[in-house]
């Protein structure tokens, strides 16, 4: 079954019936409180705490920890199982993309929490105090979730691991606080401990939203030189696709990846006419464009690191020496696209040109990664070209006077000199 498959209604009804029966059994055996807790756990799966750059943790982690630590063992197993099942049915009925991953991770989290408590009980051969049980459950839950996420073949869920850890820690603290408060102070006050969960969700959501908006603003800024006709439409998009793939292949961390992608997207900004200057063409060399891009970013008060990176990267200069690995990624992603453009047949020529020009160790490393990516037939070039295509389709109304890259002189690529 793939992610987006919707379950047939018959199966859904059957599942719902089974879960309903399980809930009734739970209520009969352990009272209505058990059924209520199971419902809370199910609802908790439906409220994800999003983190920047993809990935999320359901708020339900906190009540899982509290329930696992507080309830007697058989009851906690039955309650958690019912909660996870109910949540799964609801999520699958809504059939949102990624529902399967989410439910698998939720189930693994609950199992991890229970296993950890059992292990702790075995270790001290007796009853574990609530605080210790909650701490053990938290550790087990995080491990269960991370293992389940790691088993997914898609790189996306692995990328987000480090960013979901703060959310896990916050939810674990809330769950532990609910457990110890329920035992020591009383259930009414313990519900107060659930309040920060809302704050956690809100603040992480806001952060994740702002990150997405910033990325898209940079994406839009990267289009400005293309609208002005000093770079081919789609160049920024395709170069960014190469940069992301290279950064992942080289194992760059999240901030470095963001820097590299931002620099690649904005590397033509400096080719725009200076303020107060009429006319849209530029005859500047790539190095001048790079310096001017960096200057524009500094004046705008954007990240100094990205401005420095842009300046040192010398995007579009095929045989420049890269002072850092990040600079090499920026330069090679952009020059590779200068050569290949929208013609995936040109990939081999692009590879031989960039590898022939790579003289410093950083550039050679990046070229090796690019060879690996293109050779393994992941369809990187096709994916990148497809990413640029929607922008090119929108640009059909423009009479851009044949904007192309031209190779000039000793290996230096003078891109996009505008003709006509």
């Amino acid at each position: 079954m793939t992610h987006d498959d919707q379950l047939p209604p018959v199966v859904l009804v059957g599942l719902a019936g089974a879960v309903g029966a399980a809930l009734v059994l739970l209520a009969v055996h352990h009272g209505l409180a058990g059924a209520a807790i199971a419902t809370v756990l199910a609802l908790g799966l439906l409220v994800p705490v999003r983190v920047p750059w993809g990935g999320s943790v359901p708020v339900g982690s906190a009540p899982i920890i509290a329930a696992a630590a507080l309830l007697p063992r058989t009851e906690s197993v039955a309650t958690l199982a019912c909660g996870v099942l109910l949540g799964t049915v609801v999520v699958l009925a809504r059939s949102r993309s990624g529902a399967v991953v989410a439910t698998q991770r939720y189930a693994a989290s609950a199992a991890g929490a229970l296993v950890a408590i059992v292990v702790a009980e075995r270790a001290i051969a007796g009853d574990v105090p609530t605080l210790a049980a909650a701490v053990a459950a938290s550790a087990g839950l995080v491990i269960g979730d991370l293992v389940a996420a790691h088993l997914r073949p898609d790189a996306g869920s692995r990328m987000a691991l480090r960013s979901v850890l703060p959310v896990h820690l916050t939810l674990a603290c809330a769950g532990t606080l609910i457990a110890v408060a329920a035992e020591g102070v009383g259930m009414a006050m313990a519900l107060v401990a659930a309040f920060p969960l809302l704050i956690t969700r809100f603040s992480f959501d806001r952060y994740a939203g702002a990150t997405t908006t910033l990325e898209q603003t940079v994406q839009a800024l990267g289009l400005v030189p293309e609208l002005a006709g000093i770079a081919p439409v789609g160049h920024s998009e395709r170069s960014a696709a190469y940069a992301v793939a290279l950064a992942r292949e080289l194992g760059l961390d999240r901030p470095a990846t963001t820097r590299v992608v931002t620099a690649v997207r904005l590397h033509h900004i400096g080719g725009l006419p200076h303020e107060g200057e009429a006319g849209g063409t530029t005859t500047a060399t790539p190095a001048e464009v790079a310096a001017h891009s960096a200057q524009i970013l500094r004046e705008a008060g954007l990240s100094v690191e990205i401005a420095d990176l842009l300046e040192s990267a010398r995007a579009d200069v095929i045989d420049a020496v890269a002072p850092t690995l990040e600079a090499a990624v920026v330069r090679i992603a952009s020059t590779f696209d200068d050569i290949v453009g929208t013609d995936h047949e040109a990939a081999d020529r692009g590879l031989s040109l960039v590898s022939g020009a790579a003289r410093d160790p950083h550039s050679r490393r990046v070229v090796a990664a690019l060879l690996e990516l293109v050779a393994t037939g992941d369809g990187l070039v096709r994916t990148a070209i497809a990413a640029g295509e929607q922008f090119r389709e929108a640009a059909v109304g423009l009479d851009l006077e044949s904007v192309t890259g031209t190779r000039a002189g000793a290996g230096e690529l003078l891109p996009f000199a505008r003709r006509g």
């Binding site: 009383g186 702002a210 603003t217 800024l221 107060g276 954007l302 109304g397």
Partner: protein, 442 residues
């Protein structure tokens, strides 16, 4: 005035703490010092890590939660009021204030925090709660007491210090009030757990607080970077056409005038503002020689301008967050008598109407390459004349009402940013030049 409020607050606090101390045992010193140290750390951690922007005078602080926790740790005892006041006083020790040697503000803050904490402790200990919902009620009452005392000191102080009206300060503080109850309850809960389980429980409060701080500062950093990116975007748009200096910001301002007048919600006003700032994004794709041509455009040139403008909008509309703004920026949606496509959400159609009116008004009231600015009343008459066909009449009325109420006059004789033209543009009436930016030769 401000000085006497500072002195009054400090003396009142000293008197209250002194009187309470005389009638009870001294509080446990170790609790006072431990919580005091944690509060000073919590209040200043952002200062120590990096100087994060302005620490607003009315923001709610993590120290409050720790004070509430201390009250619960002291427990149901007469010495709790004194203990709470002493712990609360630590909330006023804000390092930037100490560095500036602003003793007045430190004395005021220590005093008002001590009094707020004492009030909370008094309420919490005098309601003898045995558990369950009674305890929640007692904790809520304590948090409210803290909030009441805190607000009644801080509100007049901020009003005096910044010379603002009390109602304005209240409007600023009001949205944060529910937080008093929520955070206060949480602080008390942690204190109660501490009393049961020992100081380890405080970790359960400190870790989420630290992560919350980190999330907030990361968010602020990203938000700041985004604002600067948008500014850069606007500068690039305006660099394209130097004759329209300040145009984008003025259109955004007039759009907000209209939006407020029509009673849009804050989130829609924010979207309207961003859309208005981006309304000329299509111009980026228009050849500069056509944008800056001093005379009339030929029909062929006019066709190129329109085609490039809409292609430019189509291209940026591929970026998710620009999609809705592109609708607002497009000419088709700006006209009142145009039939909007069924797929366009009605609120975006209204935003497009608003921006079209704001754009036209600013275009008429500023000097362009092809003519000088029109007079305010001429521009208003022109808007009115075309209301119902080109312009949404409600938007026109809203703009006129908003400008009149503010006493703002624009156009000839009132221009603030005038581009130095090589050839002085001709004086011309509405008939010789169209409305809006790109309608030069209609």
């Amino acid at each position: 005035m401000r000085r006497s409020l500072e002195i009054f607050t400090a003396i009142t606090a000293l008197a209250v703490v002194g009187a309470a101390a005389l009638t009870s045992e001294p509080p446990r010193l170790i609790v006072v010092l431990t919580f005091g140290a944690m509060i000073v750390l919590a209040e200043n951690v952002s200062v120590l890590v990096h100087r994060a922007g302005a620490a607003g005078g009315t923001s709610l602080t993590p120290g409050f939660m720790l004070t509430m926790a201390a009250i619960a740790v002291f427990g149901d005892d007469p010495s709790t009021v004194v203990g709470a006041a002493l712990v609360g006083a630590f909330e006023g020790l804000y390092i930037p204030h100490l560095r500036q040697r602003d003793i007045g503000i430190v004395a005021f803050n220590c005093g008002q925090f001590a009094l707020s904490s004492a009030a909370a402790a008094l309420v919490f200990t005098s309601i003898s709660a045995t558990g369950g919902w009674e305890q929640v009620a007692a904790a809520t009452a304590a948090a409210v007491a803290y909030g009441v005392v805190n607000v009644s000191f801080v509100l007049p102080y901020v009003a005096l210090k910044h010379g603002e009206r009390a109602s304005a300060v209240w409007a600023d503080m009001f949205p944060a009030l529910p937080n008093y109850i929520a955070w206060g309850l949480l602080g008390l809960l942690v204190g109660l757990v501490c009393a049961e389980l020992g100081p380890l429980a405080i970790v359960l409060l400190v870790i989420p607080m630290g992560i919350g701080r980190w999330t907030f500062s990361s968010f602020s950093r990203v938000k700041d970077a985004h604002d600067r990116s948008v500014e850069l975007f606007i500068r690039l748009i305006e660099a394209k056409d130097p004759y329209t200096a300040g145009h984008t910001e003025r259109v955004a301002r007039y759009s907000l005038y209209i939006g407020e007048e029509l009673g849009l919600s804050p989130s829609r006003l924010e979207h309207l503002r961003q859309s208005a700032l981006m309304h000329d994004v299509g111009k980026l794709a228009v050849p500069s020689r056509l944008l800056n041509k001093p005379g009339r455009l030929t029909p062929e040139e006019w066709d190129v301008v329109k085609r490039h403008n809409s292609a430019g909008i189509d291209i940026v509309a591929n970026v998710d967050f620009m999609r809705t703004m592109a609708v607002v920026a497009s000419d088709e949606h700006g006209r009142y008598d145009a039939t909007p496509s069924v797929t366009t959400p009605p609120e975006l159609v209204l935003e497009a109407h608003i921006v079209a009116v704001a754009d036209a008004f600013d275009a008429m009231t500023s000097t362009r390459a092809y003519r000088r600015a029109l007079e305010h009343d001429v521009a208003v008459d022109e808007l009115r004349a075309n209301a119902g066909t080109q312009f949404n009449p409600a938007c026109v009325d809203a703009l006129v009402a908003a400008l009149d109420r503010r006493g703002e006059r624009h156009g000839a004789g009132h221009e603030t940013e005038v581009h130095q033209f090589a050839v002085t543009p001709p004086v011309a009436g509405v008939g010789s030049a169209g409305l809006g930016d790109l309608e030069v030769a209609r």
